[in-house]
């Protein structure tokens, strides 16, 4: 479960990204965060991923108050999350296999497990034939799917995605969303930030609309 309790976030430049926001996402739920650019959707995801800390309020993820986590515990916390970004955040000089294996390697997973799980994740996103390719040799949509494979290879309990379809055409965007729904069906909590309302309508999942750092009705 993800719970925000009167959470505010002010950045060092003085901008208030979130203003006393409260929301809750149940375990295994698929939720869209919608709103225009700069509304505060990405800040919510950053707080979940502990890429930022709240200025005020409490963020609880899987029963863990993130404010109480010391810096040394953050890597282990992040390994239980899957994160997907609009710009993929791939290592461009490493093959697809290495990119997808990275979360398992940093978790010191045994080699046999890594190979099995990387191939399974790539199979899920339809890129098993591209294990040796460099990301630069792939299309934008394929790169996004590598990012998704990397996000789910560690079997996370929560998957967060920030505008994962921003650079994709309609068909690829739908493919990506179907992938997310498949993960949700096996129990993963999925939170997707998007400004594409047509996707939200098409998938019919609960959506939380964010406007100027607040949840709007």
């Amino acid at each position: 479960m993800i719970r925000f309790d009167r959470v505010s976030k002010r950045y060092p430049n003085g901008r208030d990204a979130l203003r006393e926001i409260s929301l809750q996402v149940e375990p295994g739920e698929f939720v869209f965060l919608t709103g225009r650019s700069g509304a505060g959707k990405s800040s919510i995801l950053k707080l979940i991923g502990l890429l930022e800390r709240p200025t005020r309020g409490t963020v609880t993820v899987n029963g863990q108050d993130t404010a109480s986590l010391p810096a040394r515990a953050i890597p282990a916390y992040r390994r239980r999350l899957g994160m997907v970004f609009q710009d993929h955040q791939l290592l461009m000089d490493r093959p697809v296999y290495d990119n997808v294996a990275l979360p398992l390697v940093v978790a010191d997973a045994p080699f046999r497990d890594i190979d099995k799980r990387v191939r399974a994740a790539l199979d899920q996103v339809g890129l098993l034939e591209q294990v040796r390719a460099l990301p630069s040799e792939l299309s934008v949509g394929e790169q996004q799917r590598v990012g998704i494979a990397r996000a789910v290879v560690g079997k996370p309990v929560v998957l967060i995605a920030d505008e994962p379809t921003g650079n994709l055409d309609r068909g690829l965007a739908l493919d990506v969303m179907r992938l997310f729904r498949r993960f949700q069906e096996v129990g993963v909590t999925v939170v997707v930030a998007t400004h594409d309302l047509s996707l939200v309508e098409e998938f019919g999942q609960r959506s939380i609309h964010i406007d100027d750092g607040k949840v709007s009705a």
Partner: protein, 308 residues
Amino acid sequence: MISPATWTTRHLQALVAALGRLLRRPLGALLTTLVIAVALALPAGLWLLVQNARSATGDLATAVQVSAFLKVGTSVERAQVIATAVRGQPDIATVTLITAEQGLKEFRERSSFGKALEALESNPLPHTLVIQPTTVQRDAAALERLRGTLAGFPEVEIVQADAEWAQRLAALFAVLRTLFLASAVLFGLGVLAVIGNTTRIEIAARLPEIAVTKLVGGSDAFIRRPFLYSGLFHGLLGGLLALGLLAALLASLEAPVARLVSLYGGQFRLAGLAGEEMLALVLAGALLGLVGAWVGAARQIARVTPQP
């Protein structure tokens, strides 16, 4: 819990990756290694200078000896009693009694005055006590105390402790030793700075990769690992290269030193580092490399914040 096999494999991977990066930019690696080698070779060369100078001067620096000449006419028995009493003093290594007869015999054998000595009616030489103090008794104040003790025996006529030149030589070696230690510390700091800076540059070039690794849960320790191996390699290779530089220096000095020694009719030969000293130099290089990399990497990696 990570298994030993996985742990070993992860470290081997980091090690191979560090070695690979080193080989991908051979000129940069060579220059860094050369700076480290020179910084290690300089204090090691000074150490060799001290060791060889000590070897060339034998044990002179510590050869402090006190002679007590007894009054002529003192009996051998009394001289033995005095020798025993001096042996009982603190910090005395050895006391040797050379009787007047032994002294005359030795003088006769070693000098060319044999026939002249036979003309003497009586032995003019006194009994002599040759006293070797322990190392703690070799400073000027301790020798003065010893001289006072010996002079307290009424049978002792003269006490001779002419150790000034030996003490000067010992002081010179002490200065050189201090110079060696100071240069070792300074050049060691230099090695730390070089490797620390090299590591910082490497990290700066790989910031995006580090940020992504943190994003997927990579700990600082995991990210630091290849940089530590890189520092270790630089230090290790620097140590080995320093050995090579010292060997070349010794080889170039061998002929001129041999010529100098032959002019003085001596037997001295330049000595290189002993096996354990070589090992210490290489290990010092490796350790400095590791610590330098740690210093350069720790804070910089901790400061990297993943930014999606």
